[in-house]
């Protein structure tokens, strides 16, 4: 009786042994392609870009710093919201502030020019979920359109003369008369302003970030600055 059983066991063992060599395997997901966000229509924060930026940037760029983000990360950038705002007395930049970085190529290379405390490397960092080529294209299109929140367009421009007064409260220190200010290509204080990027959201964000971190611009003041830059400053560059 044991004879047959032993034969069975021997077969089983043989199968097991062949199985052994075949069954040493670890699927680490390392070769899986990144998850891709697809957008129909013009990309805006509310149409797809918000989802994309939260998925691929927001887990590092959140406030307070998440543990998976590097210790040296800029702590005043939250890419889970659009608006730059004051939280507990500190200015926290939102996604309305990043259009220029994308335009300057931060998705492909380091952008070290600005007089900034961090020397940003290519984004997202290497160990983050990579952007697909299509997603990079969407972000670039969004940046070229002035990083809009939605398709509603800009509120009407305001009073140019009020805007002039505000502009010379400090914007000129970095942007000169709109054509930018740089010592050399590595020391750019402020870039030449692209008309499409002169949005009221970016103006408000710049104001809080660079001019006055405790008193935000009112809607009227932002509209006035926009009118001055777009109607007087940029068209009359020498």
């Amino acid at each position: 009786m044991y004879g047959t059983t032993n034969k069975q066991v021997a077969v089983c063992l043989l199968l097991l042994l062949t199985g052994l060599t075949a069954c040493s395997d670890a699927d680490t997901l390392g070769d899986e392609p990144p998850r891709e966000v697809v957008i129909n229509g013009a990309p805006t924060w509310e149409n797809g870009i918000g989802e994309l930026v939260q998925l691929k940037c927001g887990y590092c760029h959140a406030v307070p710093r998440p543990p998976i983000a590097p210790e040296n990360i800029v702590t005043d950038l939250d890419l889970n919201t659009y608006d730059t705002r004051i939280v507990d007395g500190q200015v926290i930049r939102g996604a309305d502030s990043i259009g220029r970085w994308i335009y300057d190529g931060i998705l492909d290379q380091a952008v070290p020019y600005y007089d900034d405390t961090s020397q940003p490397r290519q984004m997202p960092l290497d160990y983050g979920t990579p952007l697909t080529e299509a997603e990079k294209g969407l972000l670039l299109t969004w940046s070229e359109a002035g990083a809009p929140r939605n398709a509603a367009g800009e509120p009407p421009p305001g009073d140019k003369s009020v805007g002039l007064g505000l502009y010379f409260q400090g914007c000129d220190g970095c942007h000169n008369i709109g054509d930018g200010l740089a010592l050399d290509e590595n020391t750019v204080f402020g870039p030449a302003l692209r008309p499409a990027a002169v949005t009221q959201a970016k103006i408000k964000s710049m104001w809080l970030e660079r001019i006055n971190p405790s008193e935000p611009l009112s809607d009227d003041q932002a509209a006035a600055l926009q009118a001055y830059i777009l109607e007087d400053l940029l068209p009359n560059l020498p």
């Binding site: 044991y2 040493s24 983000a69």
Partner: protein, 239 residues
């Protein structure tokens, strides 16, 4: 043979594509933790008198793709992990075992590993069945991701399993199913980032113990969830 089919089914069920770095980082940590888990590595049995068993286990490691995002974390695990194991078997069916690797240092690495198990075995007709709880805990400190860095991988692992075996002559095939729970942390010094992770996964396996006097030779095939398969080979002696 049905067990083998079961094993293959476990290892084949498909995975959905398209992933985020968190999923990759979690999976990488899961795999490293489950590979260091404490599995049965022997058929369950019921002894007549107090028995002490010493064994030497070898765990050949599957190749691991260490890509996270667009970066290959240069994790460089050894191709075989050896473990020294001891088991105390009591006539009432209780079993107590452990593995301990005290602060070994190799190259620039420092590793600590401890694992414990407690089991209870009963004989049901011709079969031996065992219920077992295990705990493993360890950390590896060293230049895991970059030369000169002090990265740290810590994990703790709790498992419960049920095994059944039956002796045919000198061979004792067995199979087991269980459930694991892990907690891991990977601190990447270069990036200053802390990746942490909790996971639970079912595991199953089959093996054969070859009994020759006081000697035991054992082959075991392990499957964890649907993404990890590994084997162990051990030699043991009973005192």
């Amino acid at each position: 043979m049905r067990w083998i089919v079961l094993g293959f089914l476990l290892s084949l069920s498909g995975l959905v594509g398209q992933t985020t770095f968190q999923e990759q980082a979690d999976r990488l940590q899961n795999i490293n933790a489950y590979l260091l888990d404490f599995r049965p590595a022997a058929a369950p049995d019921v002894v007549e008198k107090i028995t002490l068993e010493g064994a030497f286990d070898l765990y050949p490691q599957p190749s691991i793709n260490t890509r996270i995002g667009a970066k290959d974390e240069p994790l460089d695990p050894p191709s075989v992990v050896p473990k020294l194991r001891g088991r105390l078997l009591l006539p009432q069916g209780w079993m107590l075992g452990g593995t301990y690797v005290p602060g070994i240092e190799f190259q620039d690495y420092k590793a600590d590993y401890i694992s414990l198990e407690l089991g209870y075995r009963v004989r049901i007709g011709k079969y031996d069945a065992g219920l077992r709880a295990s705990y493993a805990d360890g950390d590896v400190e060293g230049p895991i991701t970059e030369n000169g860095a002090t990265d740290e991988f810590t994990f703790s692992n709790v498992g419960f399993d049920l095994s059944v075996g039956r002796q045919f002559g000198q061979f004792k095939p067995y199979l087991f199913v269980g459930q694991n729970e892990i907690e891991t942390e990977l601190l990447i010094e270069e990036d200053g980032a802390l990746l942490d992770n909790e996971d639970d996964a079912p595991y199953a396996g089959l093996g054969v113990t070859y009994i020759h006097g006081s000697w035991r030779l054992n082959f075991e095939q392990n499957f964890t969830d649907d993404y990890l398969a590994f084997i162990s080979v051990s030699a043991g002696y009973r005192f």
